[in-house]
């Protein structure tokens, strides 16, 4: 179970999305998942091994690292991407349920009708509209919450070069140095920007759905 498997699931649900939804999926996978896997993971690769404190006291580095990095950025982003992708599965579950109900009705019908059932594209009206709407609201909620959590846990999007730590067993206040802080700041800002773009796309899609419903 990995990113390509998630991609395969989401692409299946893509058929019932609006165009904005398809753009959102591309932005998600190219600018967020791809960048995370190909670039960001190597930047954070040595975050603990290269976290150096100005002391020989055993255990001090571990304790200070744990104090300043309760959850790594990489793990937060992976969780965010998983949570943000799953509301789309709500929509595919609903479509599967509809197909199942329709198939039961058509069980006495012809073969071709059963086949078209699998490949047809349902119009976004009625209960599907509400499911889609809820999935968009949940997506935006998850995006916002994760960005807020990242901002609160790390006091902003900037990674400092130096943190000062006096947890036991560190003898006094010791200087601890973070590895690659500038590169980490650049990638944090990049991922936050991509996240905001995704939120804007979701908002636009929401507005489009509401406008379409009001028109009808």
């Amino acid at each position: 179970m990995s990113w390509p498997a998630l991609y395969a699931q989401l692409v299946g649900a893509n058929r019932h999305s609006t165009s904005l939804g398809k753009i959102w999926l591309s932005v998600l996978f190219i600018f967020r998942v791809m960048v995370l896997v190909v670039a960001a993971e190597s930047v954070w690769g040595d975050e603990q091994s290269d976290f150096t404190c100005n002391t020989l006291q055993p255990g001090c580095e571990n304790v200070c690292y744990d104090q300043f990095f309760p959850v790594s950025h990489i793990r937060l982003w992976s969780l965010q991407l998983v949570f943000v992708s799953t509301p789309t599965l709500l929509v595919s579950m609903y479509v599967a349920y509809r197909n199942h109900c329709d198939r039961r009705r058509l069980l006495q019908g012809q073969e071709e009708e059963l086949e078209t059932l699998k490949t047809r594209r349902l119009p976004i009206v009625g209960a599907l509209w509400w499911t889609y709407f809820c999935s968009l609201v949940f997506k935006m909620l998850f995006e916002g919450s994760f960005m807020y959590v990242l901002y609160v846990v790390y006091d902003g999007f900037e990674m400092p070069r130096l943190v000062q730590c006096d947890q036991w067993p560190c003898p006094n206040l010791v200087d601890c140095f973070i590895s690659r802080p500038t590169e980490k700041t650049i990638f944090t800002v990049f991922m936050a920007t991509a996240s905001s773009i995704c939120m804007v796309l979701n908002l636009a899609e929401l507005a489009y759905l509401v406008a379409k419903a009001l028109n009808r």
Binding site: W3, I30, V38, T55, R180, T182, I186, F187
Partner: protein, 254 residues
């Protein structure tokens, strides 16, 4: 000349350049000949070289960066001061951003196909073979698709140039120096710090920049080709009657 993915399955399948290639090469069918050459150059001389060679050269960039001091933290701080962002990450971002305008074209083609399908259905032709044919036919690069294609090419050129400029700003000179002098806190005085594999890094930097330049030239050539083709078509259709008469007149005068 499409690359085929490796035969045996990846033991740990991940979202990597191979899946990215699968996404981007789908657009290939609607590109011009120069566009297909550009895509092959991108994947063979840039992405493949990045993954197969450059990543190992830069692999120990931090662990092999040594400063002439035992002061804890001095290594980290000096490394961060001289390498705000690694070449490898810059190239990875450049390749991702430069490839994505091609998706604009793919979206436009998908939209056109959707519209064509609707028109077919409205005109009563619901033969599944016709609908299948719409899916697989190659779109001609005319009208609005021509504009989308040219705009995507211009975006590609702009992104390439921006990244080359960024590179020059962060690492002026393209050459990797052997020794840097650093005096940021907590380094006690000015300390000498040594970069690992500077010559190999210079070689790869020059190679990647040269291929980037070649890609820019290919994109410019493609824009010129498309513009030339469009102009040629307009001249041919607009001046057909007058040009023909003029040529005939000239021929008769000889």
């Amino acid at each position: 000349m499409p690359l085929t993915p490796p035969a045996e399955p990846d033991p740990e399948p991940k979202m990597n350049w191979a899946s990215f290639y699968a996404v981007i090469s789908g657009v290939n069918r609607h590109s011009t000949g120069i566009g297909r050459i550009w895509l092959s150059v991108l994947f063979i001389f840039r992405i493949l070289v990045l993954v197969v060679a450059a990543e190992t050269v830069w692999g120990d960039e931090k662990s092999g960066f040594t400063c002439n001091t035992q002061q804890p933290g001095c290594n980290s701080v000096c490394y961060d001061h001289f390498f705000p962002i690694s070449h490898i990450r810059l190239w990875a971002l450049q390749l991702i951003l430069v490839s994505t305008p091609a998706l604009l074209v793919a979206m436009h083609v998908a939209h056109r196909r959707h519209v064509d399908k609707r028109l077919y259905k409205m005109s009563g032709r619901t033969n599944p073979k016709d609908l299948e044919q719409i899916k697989t036919q190659k779109m001609k690069i005319t009208g609005a698709l021509w504009w989308t294609y040219v705009i995507s090419l211009l975006f590609r050129i702009v992104f390439e140039v921006i990244f080359m400029f960024l590179f020059y700003m962060i690492y002026p000179g393209y050459k990797m120096i052997r020794l840097v002098k650093c005096d940021s806190y907590p380094c006690p005085n000015t300390v000498d710090c040594f970069v690992s594999r500077p010559t190999e890094k210079t070689v790869f930097t020059v190679f990647m920049l040269a291929v980037s330049g070649v890609c820019i030239l290919l994109n410019i050539a493609e824009v010129a080709f498309l513009v030339g083709k469009a102009c040629g078509k307009h001249l041919h259709s607009a001046g057909d009657s007058t040009m023909g008469a003029w040529i005939q007149h000239k021929l008769h005068s000889f």
